[in-house]
Amino acid sequence: MNTETLPVDKPEEKVKEAFARNWNVIVWNDPINLMSYVVFVFMRVLGFNKEKASKHMREVHEQGRSLVATETRERAELYHQQIQAHGLMVTIEQSS
């Protein structure tokens, strides 16, 4: 008789994971997108005010990337889709 134990779903862990704000949204520099357009996209998609949007735009421009949000996976995926739809280079990754 096979006594191997099958993996059991742990619903509480899945719920915890779904609500964990541990997904980083990172926007990367590129030579084509205008600085003013990047500011516009940050304000429109992420709801930043002009000052915050400009600060992150400068990070992208000067450091090559900017961490613009740390969110739940679902929200990070939404930002990923929306920022990419505006033509900016964006990735999401789970924070360590």
Partner: protein
């Protein structure tokens, strides 16, 4: 070229040459947005449907395919508006032409023409070095095809700046 805001409307006035360039840009976008992502040239696929973020998110093949399909649908949904915007640019020549759009439509217009800039840069291998070329230096000119691409990218950048300024006024 001039962009003015009249209450909730943006009024874009262009001369014949500007009108012709813009018409060609919008027509190219109408065509490209209708093409399935897999049928696009590799350069356009790479820039419009980059899956770098899907890879970093460890999305499955199926999830990535759904993500690309949703992105394509978002672009395809702009075709109707692009057709509206190109119509006045196809009118009989006068001294210039006027394109009107509601302020709330400006983000879609900006995203579309930015898409064209990205597509053109990718197809003609325009990178940082080309964007930084000194226009006053005759020896810095690119071969004709790439020079035209760079000119289009800069022309559309000018238009985007004017729209962003007018929309914020």
């Amino acid at each position: 070229m001039r962009v003015l805001r009249e209450q909730q409307t943006l009024v874009l006035s262009v001369n014949l040459v500007e009108s012709r360039i813009l018409r060609e840009v919008l027509e190219a976008l109408i065509q490209a947005y209708g093409v399935q992502p897999g049928a696009l040239d590799a350069a356009t696929q790479a820039v419009w449907f980059s899956t770098r973020g899907c890879e970093s998110a460890k999305m499955s093949v199926e999830e990535t395919a759904e993500w690309i399909a949703a992105l394509h649908e978002a672009k395809r949904s702009l075709v109707g508006r692009l057709q509206q915007w190109v119509a006045p640019l196809r009118a009989l020549p006068e001294r210039g032409r006027v394109l009107r759009m509601e302020c709330e439509e400006a983000p879609a217009f900006l995203t579309a023409i930015n898409d064209y800039r990205l597509l053109t840069a990718a197809r003609h291998a325009i990178g940082q070095a080309e964007m930084d070329l000194d226009w006053t230096d005759p020896s810095a000119r690119l071969p004709p095809g790439r020079q035209r691409a760079l000119l289009e990218i800069d022309f559309l950048a000018w238009l985007m700046e004017l729209i962003l300024q007018a929309a914020a006024s």
